[in-house]
Structure formats: C-alpha cells, structure tokens
C-alpha cells in the first residue's frame, strides 16, 4: 500500500482494497487527536512552544519543531520514509482483514472510520526493507489507527513478521507507537496477542537473532507489556510517552497528581527500562550503527 509513495515493489495486495489513499486527503481528514495537531493545511502550531511552523519546513525537519525540537508524531508511512533506504521496502500481510469476532457493538463502524481516516487496514504495517544497506524485517505500529491498539490482525501481522525474521535470519525492528493497548472490541482475542507475539519472540531469541524495539509516542498497555519491552536493544524516541498504565488510570488509582516528566522516554532511561533515548534526526544513524556492529561476527572460538 505504500507502493506509490516508496516506489517499492510490493508483491502482495489484497483484492478488496479500493479506498482512496491520497496523502493530502489524509492530512486534511486528520482529526489531530495527538499533541501538536495540524491546525491548517499550510501551517502548524507547535503544541509545546506555540511556534507557528510552515508545514513544508516541518516535514523537511522530520516533523521536529524548528524552535523547540518538539517531536510531532509520525504515522507509519512517515516513519518508514524516515528509516528505510529508498526503494527497498516490501510490505507484508496485506491479505488479513479484521473481523468482529465478538460481534461487539459499533466495532465495524469504528474500523471503517479509521480505515478511511488513515488509509490503513489496521494499526500496523509490516514488511521488509533495508536500513543503511542492512536487510531487516520491520513492523510499525500506527497510533493514528484506533490508538494503535492490538487486535487479532495486529498480533498476527506482528507474529508473521517475527517469523519472517526467524526464517530468513533477518534482524527484526518493531517501531511501537500504540496508546491503545489490547483492543477491547476483540476482548480476550486481543489480550492473547500479547502472549502470542511474546512467544514468537522467545523463538527468535532462542535462535540468537537480533530484535531492536523502538518506542515512539505513545507506547502503552498491551503493546508496551509485550513485544515493545522485549527488544535486545530498546531505543526510545526523545520525549515519547511510554508506560504500562495510562496516566489517567494511575491518577484515579492513587488520587494524586503525577510528577512532571513521568513516563517520558527520559524517565524510562533513568529507570533502566530503555537502552538509549534518541532524537528523531539521529534515529536512523543509531539503528545503522547497531546493525553494523551486529553484522560483524569477528573471530569465533576455534
């Protein structure tokens, strides 16, 4: 589905996909639920410093505020643009369609709404591509789709990309950015995707393969409490919000205000949960360096 934008040779598309996927249209439709919302087609006001920034300039600056370095959220396509070498991406798993297994009220309409809004089928995009010349299997959770929550299809796609990494001996990179945790509409089927993906990662680990988990804003709940926390190396993008329980729930439970800086990338670094906090502009470089070192095997014992 990113074929046009990336010019890559995506081999599989589903039959049913007939939706409009214009990038421009999406931006217009974007409700701007996240912070730093796009207020105008041409200009964006920074949620952090209030600066009004020309959209083109913001995009050129990788959606990092030119004034205060605030990191606006990226969607999955922008994220792939940022990280994957040009013309090297092939998408997987487009053949999976979300259903309403519990016949949960209003689920279908929600799905439809988000599919139209984002141009995505589901909250994750998976595929393979190259990063600095290193072939990798990659998944990107898109927070714009139902808060990037995990359901049957998201779990299945993530599991399949893990299996691809395993079978083709590729390093695995998962970019998490899901604030929705396990998706309620699919009940326990969603919850169990946490176990399913974690079990698949156990196999990858047993095989001695590399998994880099990249946490972007926001990473919570069922995403953070499964694959996102299981990277050999865990990188958090600057200023992202990362945690298990959402701040509102915690506030309600403890009946106190939360400390400033709570659940930020920097907080997670201080508390030993992530290996590194990396600004968006350095992200690709850091990944390439990690992949470089892991591609070396040096002398092994005789």
């Amino acid at each position: 589905m990113f074929k046009d934008w990336f010019g890559s040779k995506s081999k599989y598309v589903t039959v049913k996909r007939q939706k409009e996927k214009s990038k421009e249209k999406k931006k217009k439709k974007g409700k701007g639920k996240g912070k730093g919302k796009i207020t105008d087609e041409l200009w964006t006001k920074c949620k952090n410093c209030g600066e009004i920034i020309f959209n083109k300039k913001l995009a050129q600056n990788l959606k990092v505020c030119l004034e205060c370095e605030y990191h606006f959220r990226l969607n999955s396509q922008e994220r792939l643009n940022l990280l994957i070498d040009e013309d090297s991406f092939t998408e997987f798993g487009e053949e999976l369609e979300t259903v309403n297994p519990l016949e949960f009220p209003k689920y279908e309409s929600k799905l439809k709404k988000y599919q139209e809004k984002t141009g995505l089928d589901e909250a994750v995009v998976t595929g393979e591509g190259q990063i600095g010349g290193h072939r990798v299997a990659i998944a990107v959770i898109d927070a714009n789709f139902l808060m990037g929550s995990m359901n049957s299809v998201v779990g299945e796609k993530v599991t399949r990309v893990i299996e691809t990494a395993l079978n083709e001996e590729l390093p695995l990179i998962i970019i998490s950015g899901g604030g929705g945790g396990a998706r309620m509409y699919e009940g326990m089927l969603s919850l169990m995707q946490m176990a399913k993906t974690s079990a698949a990662l156990a196999k990858l680990d047993d095989a001695g393969q590399l998994f880099i988990s990249v946490l972007t804003d926001p990473t919570y709940g069922g995403i953070s409490a499964s694959f996102a926390s299981l990277g050999d190396i865990i990188i958090a993008e600057k200023e992202a919000k990362i945690g298990f329980a959402g701040p509102r729930v915690i506030k309600q439970t403890i009946n106190k205000d939360l400390p400033s800086g709570f659940q930020t990338s920097e907080f997670q670094l201080e508390h030993g949960m992530v290996d590194k906090v990396v600004g968006r502009k350095e992200m690709k470089d850091v990944l390439v360096r990690i992949l470089d070192i892991h591609s070396l095997r040096g002398e092994v014992n005789a």
Partner: protein, 335 residues
C-alpha cells in the same frame, strides 16, 4: 443475612433461612414439620439449580469477585500435602500480592505461583487487593525458572483485578515484567498449568498466564479489561458495565468457545465460596489429570503444543494472495 451475599443469592438465602427457622420451631414446639421442611429443601435445590444455570456474565463476575471466595493460599493449603512459601525477587522486594513457593500433592512436586487477595480489609491492603507490582512478576519468574531447573511442573493460580497501576509500579517496569514473564513462560521446559480461580484481570493475569493448559473455574472471568473501564471508555458511562460484561465475552463458557480456554472446572452449586474443600478437590483433580496428559508428551512436543496453542489465537479473514506484477498488473495468480 450477611452483607457479602450477592443480589441473586437472596432468594436462596431466604429459603435457607426459612428452613432453619422451621427446624428450630419444630424442635422447640415439638411439632412435626418434616414434610414442610422437605418441600422447602426441594424448592431451595430447584431455585439454586435455576439461578446458577442461567447466570449472566455480570453475575458471574460478581461471584468471581466474591469477598469470601477461596484465595490462592486457601486452595494451596487444601490441595497440597506440603507447601513452603518462598519470597522475593532477589532484586528489589517481596510482593505480597503475588505469592509463590514449592509444594507437593502426594508425591508430585509442584512450584506454585498465584495472585493473593486478602480476607479482610486490612489483609487486602497488605495484599494490595491482589494487584501485583513488577517485583511480584519477577518473583514468580524466579521461582518458575527454578522449577525448570529442578524439572518441577508449575501451577499458576490467577486471581487479580489487574496489575497495579501506580507510580512505583511504572518506575520499576510493570510492562517489562509482564512481557518478560510471557516470553519466558512460553519456553520453560516444564509443564505449566494455568487456572483462573477468580478474577482474570487483563495483563496482570497474563503475566503468569502462559502455559500448556488454561483452565477456568466455573464462576470466574478473564477479560481484556474490566467491564467498568470498558463501559466508561466505550459507552462513556460506567453504569453500562453490565452491557460491557456481556459484550466482552469474558466468562469461562465464552472463552472455551473462543478456543482460548481449554477446560472449565466445575464449582460446587452456589459457588466455590460455599464449599472450599469440595472446590479444592475439583481443582486438584483437574490439576493431576491435566498434568498427566501434559507429561505424556516429550518436552519438545509439549513446547510445540504450547506454542501452537497461543500461535493460533486470533480471528480474521485471510484473503488469498494476489501477486501483482509491475509490468502486467492484470496477471493475477492465486497461491
């Protein structure tokens, strides 16, 4: 009538009280009311059957949360011929909301971990209402890895509203602790039996919830989130919790149908809190039977089955793949 009885238990309690009353009356006044009493007993039995055969999800949820329900330690003490509680994660602390230890049923050694709720308000505060912190999950993992070392099967008893959502839990990596446990439990080379004995609260439950067999007691639930939270988020109205409980498909029966749960363990009529010993016997039987079944496989078969069990969970439509060729977009090949 004690406060702890649930709404739908009322008619039963009333009948039972009346029977007692008549018995006393008969004794005191020396009047023969045997027939009357017998009739009431039959009625009571009938009503019970009726009430408990058609419990709604919301009612089951209430039973699962019943304050008098046997706790993990109650079951352990009734099931095991010996049990030694072991403490601590060797890192930070000892979580009293998630306990563990080693024990034996007959000559069968077991490592047991489980959420522990309190018996009283004070006890519940001590146990944090069965809501574990990261150190609880890490203690469980430590004990389970030890079980693997000694080739000892693992029993995990789930009964938690969820993992504790607090500042300290976040600071010490609640997400990491739960994720790590799932990954490790998927590959531990010993049989793992999971039983939901009360509340199966989301990730907090799943943190000790990966194994070869997942069973649920009859009047328990296992859910992606609490119906109250679900109602508040989706219906913007917490009083819609009953509707949410219905929609979430969280009962043992629903989850058996969905292929997530392997077996339902019956409870005595009226619920486990009415008959601790009988419940424990049923639990024990289920544990030993399933353990025997799991042990009939080789370790690699067991691990394969465990993996496959979780691997197949999820419902979706898989469209046939269409190969798109850049030059000849029309040439369509079904795989």
């Amino acid at each position: 009538m004690p406060k702890d009885h649930l709404e739908f238990e009322k008619p039963l309690i009333e009948l039972e009280d009346k029977i007692k009353e008549l018995k006393q009356f008969m004794q005191e006044k020396d009047i023969d009311l045997t027939d009357e009493i017998e009739r009431l007993k039959e009625k009571s039995e009938r009503v019970k059957q009726e009430v408990y055969s058609e419990l709604e999800p919301w009612q089951i949820l209430k039973l699962a949360r019943h304050a008098e329900r046997p706790t993990t330690l109650d079951y352990i003490n009734l099931i095991c011929d010996d049990f030694i509680e072991l403490h601590g994660d060797r890192n930070y602390g000892d979580d009293r909301a998630l306990i563990g230890g080693i024990g034996k049923i007959g000559d069968q050694p077991l490592t047991i971990v489980g959420h522990q709720k309190g018996k009283s308000t004070k006890d519940n505060i001590n146990r944090n209402f069965g809501m574990a912190h990261p150190e609880g999950y890490r203690k469980a993992l430590r004990l389970m890895k030890q079980a693997e070392k000694f080739n000892r099967p693992i029993l995990a008893l789930i009964n938690t509203p969820g993992a504790y959502p607090g500042i300290e839990a976040e600071e010490r990596g609640q997400a990491e602790a739960i994720a790590k446990n799932m990954m490790e439990m998927a590959r531990l080379k010993v049989p793992i039996i999971i039983i939901v004995t009360g509340e199966g609260g989301s990730g907090g439950a799943l943190g000790i919830g990966v194994g070869d067999k997942i069973m649920m007691l009859e009047y328990t639930y296992y859910s992606v989130c609490s119906p109250e939270a679900c109602a508040a988020i989706l219906w913007k109205d917490a009083s819609e919790a009953k509707t949410a409980a219905e929609a979430l498909k969280l009962t043992a029966k629903d989850l058996l149908e969905l292929g997530i749960v392997d077996e339902i363990i019956n409870e005595p009529l009226g619920g486990a809190h009415k008959a601790f010993k009988e419940s424990a016997e049923l639990l024990k039987e289920a544990i030993l039977t399933n353990l025997q079944e799991i042990q009939s496989f080789s370790i690699s078969e067991m691990l394969e089955k465990r993996y496959d069990k979780f691997r197949q969970i999820g419902e979706y439509i898989e469209h046939s793949r269409i190969e798109v060729n850049d030059e000849q977009q029309d040439e369509v090949v079904n795989e």
